[in-house]
Subunit: 342 residues, 3 copies
């Protein structure tokens, strides 16, 4: 892939300072860029790196005199960098058409431009759109629907009746539509509550590796447009996650939790069942959410408290030994004072 700086600047809406015919063949970090590659500078902590980079061009938010080569000036260098990297990124490796070593039920319908690797299983009545990629080891259950341009990495399992939108990415080992965890006690025995619902995953969702998304007891577990999850995330039955919410690795979301849109959930946070989280709330890593969180609230800790309070208490917890000493000293002094007064 070769692009001139002019072509790059035009595609991201930036101004070129310097030679706009410079040819760019790739993108890299300041320290690792070599001749022909473009890099990116906006954080002043990287001043030393920018001085000695071998990059042939830079994306910047304002022109810097620390660098002699041509510069593309843009409003949002991080976003621009991402868009330029996308130009140079390798495409998803596809398989030409439907492999005859895949196992595809004759009643399923698959878009002509889709790529079905060997060792894929596709069940009865499944419907798969155009430009979809299903890697080896993917299991698609009966009547599953998958939209266009969705990529499903190796060894993903999508069980019967689940619905996956357009432009979805699901990383390896993730399970969609396993049974929700529901039992009713009959004496000491746990009787299984049949899990009769589905999982619905809307457009532009990306799920990390080894996630679990359980099907609803009734109705649907619903992951809305633009949600991104990291690896090893647990999403229980009947959970609803709003648009553009971010879920970091190893988060656990219990049954029937409702999470709003554009929420940020830090790694390893856990949620008790049925809690609600308002839009644009922020939940710290490792938080234990046992009560509902209002829109825009910023919380941390287990159980959660306002993030600023958590910062204070975290600092004070390590001073508990001194607290104890101070209490003891006070008790002595008060006793002494009493004795003197008596």
């Amino acid at each position: 892939m070769e692009l001139t700086l002019r072509e790059i600047a035009d595609s991201v809406g930036g101004d070129v300072i310097g030679d706009d015919k410079t040819v760019v063949t790739g993108i890299n970090s300041l320290d690792e860029a070599s001749c022909g590659e473009i890099s990116f500078f906006s954080d002043p902590r990287y001043r030393a790196s920018v001085k000695k980079t071998d990059a042939s061009a830079l994306i910047v938010s304002k022109v810097t005199d620390l660098y002699q080569g041509p510069q593309v000036v843009v409003l949002n260098p991080a976003l621009t960098y991402t868009r330029v990297a996308t130009l140079f990124a390798s495409p998803i490796p596809t398989y030409p058409g439907i492999s005859d070593q895949a196992v595809v039920h004759k009643s399923s319908r698959i878009g002509r431009s889709s790529s079905i690797y060997p060792l894929v299983y596709i069940g009865e009545g499944a419907i798969i759109g155009e430009d979809v990629v299903l890697f080896a080891g993917v299991f698609i259950g009966d009547r599953v629907k998958i939209g266009d341009r969705t990529v499903i990495y190796p060894n993903v399992t999508i069980l019967q009746d689940c619905i996956i939108g357009n432009d979805v990415i699901i990383h390896s080992g993730t399970v969609i539509g396993s049974d929700g965890f529901g039992f009713v006690k009959d004496g000491s025995t746990s009787v299984k509550v049949p899990q009769m619902g589905i999982v619905q995953i809307d457009d532009q969702v990306e799920l990390g590796a080894n996630n679990c998304v359980d099907r609803a007891a009734m109705g649907k577990t619903w992951i809305k447009r633009g949600v991104k999850t990291d690896n090893l995330v647990q999403i229980g039955h009947n959970v609803v996650i709003g648009e553009d919410t971010i879920v970091v690795a190893q988060v656990g979301i219990s049954g029937s939790v409702r999470i709003g849109r554009e929420v940020m959930i830090g790694g390893k946070a856990g949620f008790a069942d049925h809690v609600e989280v308002g839009d644009r709330a922020m939940i710290g890593g490792g938080a234990g959410v046992i009560q509902s969180i209002s829109p825009g609230e910023i919380v941390s800790g287990s159980p959660t408290m306002p993030h600023r309070l958590w910062l204070k208490t975290s600092g004070l917890i390590r001073r508990l030994p001194q607290f104890n000493d101070r209490l003891r000293a006070l008790e002595k002094e008060v006793d002494e004072l009493k004795r003197r007064l008596d």
Copy 2:
């Protein structure tokens, strides 16, 4: 599926109030039930829903005048609902016989009524009972034994010599019989301790998706009858879990932990190795169990403490800033008193 209210009432031992010839075609929540469906009412919080439900019949613990249609009166409506839902639930989708696109070692023995999907691997000397379902992507190692009516979902791995009972359900991505995590240091190098034991899973166990159950160093890791685990649970080598114990998502159980029967373990709880947990203990979500827990104890926190104490301390931790202020105020006042007395 169509059943009369009389047939339903007879199958669960309930009394019909109203027309027992009412035909029921499905089951649903109060809010989503439509004509022909039966629903369920016992929690007074759902009074508003019961008034406007379209359900054609209700399962109730006592007759309600909020609803005009026929009612089935039972002792335990939650359990009855579960049993009725099971009548209407779709059966597990099976494959007719042993697929010739499965890879089955000729020395293995498989029950005639079992369902082996394409892309299953079954190793040397494996023995599989009747009415078993193995979905695509399942790996069954050499000499594995599986009882009757067990269902193993896609992409599950069961390694050599492990033993799985009757009526077991194992959800997708779960690994049974991976090596326990055992090393001995030789200088800075970690020398692997061979893991020579097995995993034994008894009847009626259900394991969630993406669980890991390690084989024993020697002897067996043992999950007893009726245990239910949620998703992403870690079970180390030589762990024993007693009958009917419930393990919620993302729990981590270290090597050689022994857990009693009917224990409840909340999500994300972790256990140090070798601890013991008595029968019917309850362990809160996120608890860190570093000491043994007595039968019937209810604990929370990390490290664990009695649940009631944990409730108190959780409340008090957020008051640490005030504690600090109060200590400082007291110190000032005591100084002042001393000065006045001197």
Copy 3:
């Protein structure tokens, strides 16, 4: 497998006390050993077991008179036990050559002595060494390189361009080379940062089941020689883990974290992104590492503090209700003193 005590002693460098022609056919714990088996005794807590063991020989650190049979005296009985167990352990079950039910791209190169099970997928230009075992359900992406004697268990996914060394073991369900979790906000939308790097796993690494190791945004995520991870571990993009570091189950390591050599990381610990951990540090189970840790430091808690301080604070947290009572009592007494002085 049959070995004389003399052969065993010679292979581990020990002295035989008693009959060195004793034939040993296996190894077992003191309680479960039967005639013909060798066992191991060094911890005095097992005195009762050693008195009644049926083992035909013992490995000991010094001769014991609690046992009448022959004894092999060695410097490090735990390490010797491991080496002897390895002599008796079953070999990894292999498949003869490359199965014709595997899907192997014609451009890949595979060592003649390697074992490729049915239902393996190997992509374009992959290079696989000698004596490698790939179990069924393994996915090897395009241009992946795998060294000699590496064992990859069922349903592991290794995505394009990743590099795996010699003598590596990867347990089932683990994913190597999934995309790192990187997004840049464009308004409320998350724009995916292309993940253009790889994962490199050096010699003698062992990764547990259902791990996730993300590929680097640029450059590589790097797991160095001798690292051992337990199950369900998350390793983010651009993480570097030093030689011989031990990572217990359910640990989460965020992007760009750098961990030194011979570090011990307890189960469920979590790391904020970009933190650094020095060589030979020890991090307690469940720790929340949000700041860098110096070499040799021993920390626990969330956020981390020195382990000894954590022990104290953990004890004091459960005394918070008394602290509160003591504060209240002091406040009353000081008020009373003030009144008496006024």
